[in-house]
Amino acid sequence: MYYKLPKIDYYRPKTLDEAIRLLREIDNSRVIAGGTDLLVDMKTSRVRVRALVDISSIPDLRGIEDLGRTIRIGAATRLQELIESNVVSQNLPLLKAAVESMGSWQIRNMATIGGNLCNASPAADTAPPLLAYDAEFVVIGSEGLRVIPSTKFFVGYRKTALNPCEILKEILVKKSEWSGWSYVKLGRRGGFTLSVVAVAVLAKVIDGVVYDVRIALNSVAPVPIRAYKAEEVVRGKRVSWSLIEEAANTVAGEVTPIDDVRSTSWYRREMSYQLAKDALAKALGVA
């Protein structure tokens, strides 16, 4: 046995109210959903907690629904459920592509979308698509509900805008017509791996003109980011190779990558340029 988990208390509330009460009343308590980040962090002593509040059996946190103009995804929905959902394939193909690149089948059967977002790793793969879709995150605490735009959710390295006793309840994405999308991820090996860099692009191209574009990346800054300057370069312009190169150059100027176990800052910046080029070409329909 290499790892031993510290002594902990465990609660499995059936309702959100009960979960929030437990989080408020127990010092140093923490939500556990799929546990694929948290248990690794506890085994390696990166995170120390006294009590776990398992939110995976709370019905309000589960499920994927088409609400007409909006898609709702419960925070405790498993990644594999997203891949298998028709609602997701039809309306959020960019999110589906990103989730398909995550972990292994085993991990996707356990891991949740809310866990990926709340863990707030710079490499989180569900973040770039949701930033690109301009998703909204509904969170709940003892004061009630509030809505946080995805672009305000990640506030620092592994830090979110959630207060300690708040729970991410659901993700809302407004439906919109995109003519193209792409998720291009570079990892250390083929599949089943955290990214060195990943780029998500959504585009609305009509008669060769870019009406709207969204570009988001992970692993190139303390938090997953939107590349707003590069979006400005592309928006309103006629699609061309030189436009794509200019935008990819702008992306490389916007990122602030670091050296870590998976890669170096230099390589990440270089790859931001290359991957942005590939992702833009595909989403703009010139690949």
């Binding site: 031993k4 988990l5 694929t36 248990l39 085994k43 398992d54 085993q106 356990m110 599949g191």
Partner: protein, 161 residues
Amino acid sequence: MRVNFTLNGNRVEVDVEPNEILLDTLRLRLGVKSVKRGCERGECGACTVLVNGKPAVSCLLLTVQVDGSEITTVEGLYSDHLFGELVEEFSKNFAVQCGYCTPAMLLTAYAFLNEALRKLLKPSKEDIVKAIEGNLCRCGTYPRVVRAITEVLERKLGKYG
């Protein structure tokens, strides 16, 4: 804490500390030795079990989390027909070398075959490769494992072109 679950069709009740992982409960308490200890952080897949029919890694599951679930390991599949065919193809194709990853590999492959047959959808070669991505084999038997799975599929759903 008292935890009840079904292990290979039999109801079991264990009294465990909340920090006990399912891998330890299975190996050390219940004597299920087909579930192997590997990396203990979800990357190698040697400790895979089926939770309600779906592969999951037992090193990242607290035993208290599986209360009320159905857990399956290869011990529970000896008399299962599909599993028998899969094992036969593994042996015919020499899809085993040292054997450490094999029980877990078989479980993932079995769950994958079950889903494919239930949906009557013939998976692509890429689908097969992707399904076993989470089961590392340090002997490198992957091409043989893929062949073994493919042969079971061909027998059930027709030849691959």
